[in-house]
Symmetry: C2
Subunit: 202 residues, 2 copies
Amino acid sequence: MTPSRDEKKKITRQTILEAARACFEAEGYEATSVRDIASAAEVSAGSVIHHFGSKRELLYATLFEDLETTMREALSLCTSPPLGAQLDAMTRHIFSYYLRRPRLSRVLLKESLFAEEPWASRFREQTARLHGAVEALAGDAMRRGELSPVVDARMLAMAYVSFYYFALLAWAQGGHEDPARLVSVQMAQHLRGLSSARTTGG
Amino acid sequence: MTPSRDEKKKITRQTILEAARACFEAEGYEATSVRDIASAAEVSAGSVIHHFGSKRELLYATLFEDLETTMREALSLCTSPPLGAQLDAMTRHIFSYYLRRPRLSRVLLKESLFAEEPWASRFREQTARLHGAVEALAGDAMRRGELSPVVDARMLAMAYVSFYYFALLAWAQGGHEDPARLVSVQMAQHLRGLSSARTTGG
DNA sequence: GAATTTTGTTGAACGTGTTTAATGTTTTTG
DNA sequence: CAAAAACATTAAACACGTTCAACAAAATTC
């Protein structure tokens, strides 16, 4: 019953991943050295790099799946209209993931926003899915008559994502305690409409 | 005529700064080592760190002033109404600074968004000044009757800044050629107003 | 003006992430 | 089953940013 090389590889990978997650959560990303992770996983530092390419990619590996799960949950949330409430629920669900790990989220945000391929694509895809979900909800709202039929759902979704990242960055910089509320307030302002043209014009 | 210690210090600092700027522009931030800068400035690596604290702070020092100048220029731009045109002019002026140095801007954006003190405050202050300028322009627009008097100028400014950073990040990730246009389009949508309440209600 | 303190400068050294050459074992090939 | 290829693993080495002890020279003190 000698374990095959593939099995051993997978076990080693998993061991390193768990050791890394533990070290990162306990000490933070920067304070954790590759050698720390290696000795916690009882392998050499070279082996850690061999399996994951770099320390940064190890960070991605530890956090991406969790974020993916959270995102999927958020997108499958079935909140009842109006649109504002639906978006709020989504925002809150996703942000709760970040708020639970302030230190790691900060570095994840920093590194994921400026990742190289193939991670850049993966993170971009997550954002694209969020964008798509908001667009779909906006479409529903238009069909309900809650939004004017001339609204561009794609633009609305882009505005949401802008507010989303702004709030996330403001929070990561220590500026806001409740980023979800910030998104909510900004989105409400956006939906309310600002131009006086509608009140004075035809 | 032995130069005083203060003078010598200033000269050394300036020499290092110029060497660093040259290296960063030529090779990029990550590809430039502290030792490269040191030998270009004909000092030791330790001296470079002694003067600037860290390689990252040297990056801030090389780029912050330029950005500061650009920002000040943008804020003192006197474009004629409507508000949208005024904001577009500002956006374009600032973004032209980034677009001129794509590689360095990318790393500056990354590092400045997540800087530690005292740089964090400085960059936050720049954003705050941008925010303030937009708020003032929005106030003018309200007094002109261009915007509804119920509009919250601070919220409008926050929306602008959100679009601003979203476009900048999208550009830095290689997604958009013309981030200024992206801001313009999003801001136009925001000003136009989205809710059908205004057409059906009141 | 001598003694003392301050401080700009340096080269060596530290810990870092990553690379590399060598090794032993598993898998594949013939 | 033997020969060959593939590959996970490691220790040593590398370049990196940064720290440090030592030094020399300028500034300060008395």
